[in-house]
């Protein structure tokens, strides 16, 4: 029975995606309740399948199960296999994803009622659910990359959901740039794993009760290199320092998608990847030290910056970032089970907070009416820990978001673009000179009248 239950965890959302994409391409306009039923039904079914899989494993005293769906493609010695793995880690993630996507699907029915992008929202939500399920069930790093890219893509398009405004588009593009730069790490890690280990498939290391994990190269140098590449990939997806600037901006998207992406699932895929790579942190001290350092640095940065934010969604974004930073540190220190518990509890609490955030002022008003006074300030205890002399500096630092954004904008991206544009200008001038185009040489472009 389990042989078909595990593939169904993937096929059911894929079927829902296929039906919605057909509607989008053929410009069919199904009713809101039909769309809602498709998505909530698919992920509701998945939640039941997760429950069934869990019961089956318990009944058969198994801690994991592996299903092969066959070969995707093969050439020479290289084979891309579709292998799905269910163990404590993947089942927890898939259950959480199914439950939350189904819940968000139901919640959004009213929230996005009569919104022009209703079908688009549900399509992207469903695609995200399918991508996350694939990441969680993947039996190899190649397959994780497959789902990982889908998740990044849906996240970008949902940030830019309100596409007629300029800011969501800019923020979506910023998130995409971060994802794309960091996904290079994941793909490089997969390629390097094939090069050094011979495959990127996961195996069960240690006892039968342990989670599946990536196989280690035989030497420490390659272990450290791959460890750093995986950490690089996780930093982008989980908005760790210095790549975290996109996360508060990502809150431009609809609140339900912000809740599931940046409060619950997407932001925790980085820790998920690190948990799958736990043998790397146990073997390479340099790599584990980097994981812990990045985590602690992010937690501190996000705590300080979050405290000076003036809107609730940005505050929650930084709170998410801080918690994920702590989870990074837990993984680096080897507390894998604690990290998993932390992920689940944080995902549930944070998504609830983000879903409630649009009604925050009303909630505060209600509380203040009951208490008949203004609500007291929170977090004052932290001020006692910081000497008065450095408080103004820290406040400035927090307001500037740690200067990461400005350094990135002015020196890294700005400098790079300015350099590339200079090269492009030289190339254009040469082409203009060669073609005898005076207008191009003088920098005033003659527009070719292209008929409509």
């Amino acid at each position: 029975m389990i042989e078909w239950m595990i593939p169904c965890l993937l096929f059911v959302p894929a079927l829902a995606v296929a039906s919605l994409v057909t509607c989008v391409w053929l410009k069919l306009r199904p009713g809101e309740s039909t769309i809602n039923r498709i998505v909530a039904g698919a992920f509701g079914t998945n939640a039941v399948l997760c429950l069934g899989t869990g019961i089956w494993l318990l009944a058969h005293h198994r801690f994991s199960y592996e299903v092969s769906l066959g070969t995707f493609f093969e050439a020479e010695h290289y084979t891309f296999e579709w292998t799905l793995v269910v163990d404590g880690l993947s089942l927890t993630f898939v259950t959480l994803t199914s439950f939350l996507v189904g819940l968000i699907g139901v919640f959004s029915r009213r929230y996005l009622h009569r919104e022009t992008g209703y079908l688009r929202f549900y399509f992207l939500l469903c695609l995200f659910g399918a991508g996350t399920t694939l990441v969680a069930l993947a039996g190899s790093l190649d397959l994780i990359f497959f789902g990982w890219e889908i998740v990044g893509f849906t996240s970008t398009l949902l940030i830019a959901f309100f596409h007629e405004r300029k800011k969501p588009i800019e923020h979506g593009l910023r998130a995409f740039i971060t994802y794309r730069m960091c996904d290079m790490g994941l793909l490089s890690a997969a390629v390097w794993m094939h090069h050094t280990v011979g495959s990127s498939e996961m195996i069960q290391l240690g006892s039968d009760t342990s989670w599946y994990a990536f196989n280690l190269p035989t030497d420490l140098t390659n272990t450290t290199i791959i460890g750093f590449l995986l950490l690089w990939a996780a930093m982008g997806k989980s908005a760790q320092v210095p790549f975290g600037g996109w996360l508060p901006r990502a809150m431009e998207g609809p609140t339900p998608s912000s809740a599931i992406f940046y409060g619950a699932i997407s932001v925790h895929l980085g820790p998920y990847l690190l948990l799958r790579a736990s043998p790397f942190w146990n073997t390479s001290i340099a790599a584990s030290a980097a994981v812990v350092s990045i985590g602690i640095l992010t937690a501190l940065h996000a705590t300080f910056v979050g405290r000076v934010q003036t809107d609730i969604k940005s505050t929650l974004a930084y709170a998410s970032m801080a918690q994920v930073g702590i989870i990074f540190a837990e993984i680096g220190l080897g507390f894998s089970t604690l990290a998993l518990l932390h992920i689940v509890s944080h995902a549930i609490v944070r998504s609830l907070q983000i879903l409630r955030s649009p009604g925050l002022l009303a909630d505060y008003g209600k509380l203040e009416r009951v208490m008949k006074q203004q609500l007291p300030r929170t977090g004052g205890h932290l001020e006692f820990l910081v000497p008065a002399s450095i408080r103004p500096w820290l406040y400035r630092h927090a307001l500037e978001r740690g200067y990461f954004d400005s350094i990135l904008r002015d020196y890294v991206v700005g400098g790079f673009l300015s350099f590339v544009r200079k090269i492009d200008a030289v190339d254009r001038r040469w082409a203009a000179w060669a073609s005898g185009d005076d207008s191009e040489r003088k920098g005033t472009r003659v527009k070719v009248a292209r008929e409509k």
Binding site: V24, E76, Y78, F80, G147, I169, D424, E451, K452
Partner: protein, 450 residues
Amino acid sequence: MIAIAPLALALLFAIASLLVRRIKDPRKARRHATFWVVGGFLLGAVAAAVDTFTTVHDIELFGTGMHLLPDGLLKLFPVVTCLVSWVAIAMSPAGSHPARTQARILSLLAQSLGFLVTPEPILIAGLWATSALTTWLELRQVANGLRVDRLFAIYHLPSVILFSLGAFLITRDISYYGVISLLIGIAIRQASLPVHSWFPAFVDRAPLGLVVLFVSPQVEVIAQLEFLSGGLPADLVGIVATLGVVTAIGAAVLGVAQQNARRAAAYLIMSQMGLVAFGLENHTSLALTGALLTWQVLSLATAGYTMALAALESRHGSLDLRVPHGNFENTPRLAIAFLILGLSMIGFPTTLGFVAEDLLVQGSVNEFPSLGLCLIIATAFNGLTVMRSFFSLFCGARRHMGESDLTRRETLALSLVIATLILGGMIPGPVVAIDAEEAHTETALPLPHR
């Protein structure tokens, strides 16, 4: 041996080109050209099916042995090229593509198919020259005094001369210098860095249907497969592979900085052609399989992506990336097609591009570890170009000027390309098997005489 199906199709399209040229109304010319191309596509598909599923491969005609189609991977080329032309013609805006341009598109299609007729160096060199000449003649008429024709001639005249000289030297068994001459001719046509400057200007100003037929079939890959089977002399392999990677990365980086969608597309295509050039120099059949698959994906995706730009330009006018155009709600199908085709080019999962680039990177890492990893950087930057173009061209503003979405004719052509790329991406096994067989044959051949 002569391949009879490409010959018949080439003759068919040459006649069609003459007939279409006589029509005055561009819309009527487009209807007729579409009819011819769809017919050619169906004939090519039937020929491929007969060649694959029956035993009719070799035919004796007038005392000469003939193939129905070339062996291996190239037997798919007529179908793919006809599909590319279908998209180019069906989506060409009547305003920027008069009957003359459409006739030249058909003529370029006939010449591309001519490359498959026989691996005779002189014939291939002749077609190399005529295709450049056809394009140049068109550029002379559409350049509106901007003299892109002059720039095109500055680059393509040496390309034609060097290619022809190389082909001649190879027939005279002077292989080493012949190969060098041939490679420089190919590098110019492939717009490899640093001999690329004609390409962005060409894509920026030429009618996009013509651009598609000149670029998408990538006849230089066929020339490479025909003349340089088995790989290059050892001292040239590293140079050509490095040049391929430099082009892939350099063009990807320059693409990000462009402020016009046509030029951004030019650098995107250049970068992908660099990947193909790099892959073809690998001695592992895995990387070669990836390069061949990237070539096929690039042909289809480039055609769709470029013609989606043409369709958008005919509706919007400007394709400036600095200004958000925002028309997603009115043209959702065009926007989605543009995005999917762009993502296919950069190797996004669920498309055939993902399989191609995975094979290319995995295969090249063993032979050129650092260069192989550089490909990942190139694809990352290309992704930024696609997404930036999508957001600028379809989002970010509330300006709706009554632009219409894709017509039925355009939808059908683009749907076929998208379905091929997505179905190929979901079930890549059969296509990869054909490419792997071809790659195995190529790598098994002896190296050319040094």
